[in-house]
Subunit: 248 residues, 2 copies
């Protein structure tokens, strides 16, 4: 049987899942994909994901690969798979890639958005994908702080204390903060992110937005290389992985 490697782009509403990665305590995106693919193709399929998003985090474009002997054309797999997936997981694209292509070993740029709903009362139609805050937030101060994160830095202060990561140097290519109507969106693109890094960035930029820190304090926070120097980890449901751009 000739095997081929298929790359999927996967979108999901993470509300009802315990994150991406298979784990004993609850249902995960990876597990649902494995099951639907195995049923569809009649093989035991195990996907490998690019970003192991946390419980409650959403995605518009996570990437996963798997190997299969199927004769089904690669681009038809997305349509057939979506018939078997629940409505909160939708494959956006399926295509063949070289047999040695790996979603975490290729150079890439990942983009995430963290969204804050900033108004007097919550909007129930946006409760699943925005973090609600009623108090005044200075978006300009957040942008000034965000500017200081751009570049190649040791982001140890912005990494969960539970992480085992040895190399905590990462590159942030862009970090913008903009407000449209009542939603503040932090959009960050980087070479890769440490465990909880985007949510800690969001929690720290919000401290700049409420005057708890000055924007220029970001430098000291980076220099400290200590998780306790940065702000709190913002809640998972405000975070959406937007997509991954690979160097071809």
């Amino acid at each position: 049987m000739f095997m081929k490697r298929i790359r999927l782009v996967v979108a999901y509403d993470g509300t009802n899942y315990c994150g991406w990665q298979v784990q004993p305590n609850g249902i995960t995106i990876e597990e649902v994909l494995n099951q639907a693919l195995s049923d569809l193709l009649g093989e035991d399929i195990k996907v490998t994901g690019a970003s192991r998003t946390d419980s409650g985090v959403h995605s518009l474009g996570n990437v996963a690969v798997f190997d299969t002997g199927t004769r089904m054309p690669a681009d038809k797999i997305s349509y057939a798979l979506n018939q078997r997936l629940p409505e909160d997981i939708v494959v956006q694209d399926s295509r063949q890639v070289p047999d040695d292509w790996h979603p975490r070993r290729c150079e890439s740029r990942k983009t995430y958005e963290y969204r804050i709903l900033n108004r007097r009362f919550p909007d129930p139609t946006r409760r699943r994908d925005t973090y609600f805050l009623y108090y005044g937030i200075d978006v300009e101060a957040m942008q000034k702080a965000a500017d200081l994160l751009v570049g190649t830095h040791d982001f140890k202060s912005f990494c969960s204390a539970n992480s085992q990561a040895e190399d905590t140097v990462r590159t942030i290519y862009a970090c913008s903060v903009r407000k449209t109507e009542d939603i503040i969106t932090i959009r960050v693109t980087g070479s890769g992110f440490l465990y909880n890094m985007v949510r800690i960035i969001a929690g720290t930029l919000l401290q700049a937005g409420t005057g708890k820190i000055r924007p220029e304090d970001i430098k000291e926070i980076l220099d400290a290389k200590d998780r306790s120097a940065a702000g709190p980890t913002a809640p998972a449901h405000g975070l959406t992985m937007i997509g991954i751009q690979y160097e071809e």
Copy 2:
């Protein structure tokens, strides 16, 4: 006991409700509000709503009134009530109004939005408040058709055949169709709307957008005064009541 009349502005995600109005077959927004208000104020409260939205329809600003003998300041009721409401119903404002003020008997302008997600595959994070269509849609043709709805017309063709309404003349002040990224938004403001009218407008404008009818056919559809002349009723979950402006 001195009674006073309180006006609420109510937002909700309609996904899990059988619409606004109390009915035997399932839980409704009105019923949940009545229960929460009665519990909060220790009186038997029954609200009167401005717009009796259908099952699955959302709202950012429906309006309701009730009478109460409470001493609680009117503007504090919203905060106390939200503590008792589920997270998919959030009161946005509470204030006292004259004792004879009625949300359906005052001159008003109501605004609704119907949202269509137009891309290759569904976005699971927008599945609750957009209607997904993958095929190409001509937004300009939709706008040309929408322009012909503006004004005072007999909208009998755009009224559910199940409606008992005798007077089917209504005024549409504005009807715009715009596309932002992959979402087409039909925004319509009128003096009032017949049963299913906005969803039938959406279904008919979509027929113009796909070339099934020509934009100018709207005139004949209005003249027909017959439900079967207009397009299908678009699904409820794409519809959001945006708000109501009252003449003071």
